[in-house]
Amino acid sequence: MNYNKIYSKWFWVPAFAIFFILFLLPSILGVFFSFTNWNSMSESLKWVGLENYKKIFESGSSIRPFANTIFFAVMTSVLKGGFGLLLALALNRRVYGRNALRTLFFLPMVLSNVIVGLVFQQIYHPTTGVLNQFLNLLGMGSLAHGWIIEPGLVMWSCVAVEVWKASGFNMVIFLAGLQSVPTDLYEACDMDGGSAWQKFIKVTLPFIMPSVVINMLLNVISGLKVFDVIYTLTNGGPGKMSEVVEIVILNEFAIGNYGYGTAYSTLMFVVLIIISVSVIKRYAAIGGDSV
């Protein structure tokens, strides 16, 4: 009996229904509301066309949240990928306590972002925080800073928390990719006198390219959607120095300006769709879909 035949015809219905009701429908409705004056004070909706979008693009204060979001997404994607790859390469060898170390590096990923934000808020505190106290203990007091109150440092501090938290997740995906690299290719490379760097570039990297692409896709999307870590760590502050798009949306909803907030969220939705489709196309082009 061909069970696949039955699955292919009917079993997509519940999943699609859930996806449609809980994701597609609200998204479509969101697009509609972004063209209205929907707010907490008026009983009726008024069609305002592109007015909300116009205000977003005209307002000088919109630049920083978008810039911060892109900065966060790019920096965390690169750094999480980089550290994740280094960890994966190190722990793909036969080292003592390998499994324990893999678990240890993955562990931050299971923590709630809210808890991580609150803990790092204490770690970064300029006077009572562990980080500055540690630097002072080492006689490196000149490096002590107000990590989340100095305008020039605050976004880097947020990036560092995300990198600490999610590098382990990247490591796991890279480790899975590394299992697909045939060991005889390394042996052949050794016989040809290839250096470690050449082995990495010519052998390892092509085989783990699908892992690189999927990591980057997930990193960029999670980076662009960042909210909870920054909300609990800095609440977008000091001032609006670490404000990202999701925090702006929350603030607009908090003052009851739903239509404007929804326009922001629709813009982010479009950006995410463009990035996702581009990366998935790239993924398919390099043959990742066959893995």
Binding site: I6, P14, I255, G256
Partner: protein
Amino acid sequence: MKANKAFCAVLSILTAAGILSSCGTSNGDGDTSQGGNNKKGVTLSYAASRTWVNRNSTVDDELNQKFTDETGNQIDFQISPDDQYANVLQTKLSTGEVPDIFMTGSGVGAQIYKPDKYFADLSDQEWVNRYADYAKKITQIDGKTVGFMTWCVDGYAILYNPETYAKYNLSVPTNYAEFEQVCKTLMDNGITPVYETGKELWHWAAFFGQVGPLACKNYDGDLYADLNSNKVKFADIPELEEYLADMKKAYDAGYLGENSLSNTWDSAYEAMASGKYAGILVYESWQTELAEKYPDCGAENWEMYPVPFAGNNMYSPSASAIMRVAYKDSERLDVVKEFFDFLAEPENLQLYYDNNPALQPNPSFSDIAARPTKGGETFVANAAGGAGEDINSSILYWNDQLAGSGIQEMLMGTKTPIEVLQALDADRQKMFDATEE
């Protein structure tokens, strides 16, 4: 084969239907009986912000239990974190999941919850006659009493230890120049003049809001009414700009502490009890909380003075306090009124206030004896300019978070005082535009 296909199809549809039906709306009921008046065994849903109930006690739970014991009706608290309560409540209202009882700020701040649509008229309730004058005033909208309030209004001012001031021959400053002299002397003696909980955006907003009465006094007309009708902008009011400029000067000079942007509200108790700081901007009853946590610091004898920026010398109580609202179209409105009657019984009111020291300085019921704090008394005594309501609770579309972040930007030098005010105007303008008919 066909039977299998049909079975799978039916199973899929039933699964989808089951999941979707669980997403449907419930009547939010929980009743064990339905319909009619004087129901027994009814459960009232009651939405509140975390720190608005059971403040350092379990008195709200105790009163609810007592109500259940007497009537058989139960109270189902739906508690949300403070910073999310407004969002949660607005979501509940807009999705039709309106609680039977919900807490809101009174006055202008209540307007965002559409009083006409959701607030029951409680004007004919017996306890309204026992309200203190201010409570009667701020629970009214369009002449109707719409809230049951067991709260207290008081103002924010700088609480200081008079012994520290006396030790260095300092007197209460009445303008920025005098404040600067006080601060310099304290700093020369290793004491930080003010502990500012600057991580909290709402606290910067509270700091700023104290200039409201002075601005109103100097304004030709009703400033708050003109701001609320969008006839005038914050940027048009010179006192507001001057006050912000003084805040910036004090911050830059270190009078508010070296790392004040990292200080949380919760950390203030320990900091003030340590003696390293000479003052803090707090509400009148805060010293009672501090004295309870740190009895040795003698906080109950500390005094207060108005923030002397821009020459401010006025007592600035809030124009708003927390009240309970009954949902106008609740099927259990009669039970809600019964619950409010129960809470308003003198014995229950007394129990409530006895367990809420922070609310005792100025109770909302005239038959409850006020227990003013030393800070509150000296705040009024030091306010030679008279009294008026603060900005925060008087202005339509005011948002503490947005105001606080604007002030933080000014302190870091990325905005000037006038730019902060213009940004506040721009944020409010968005709502004026959105609500324009």
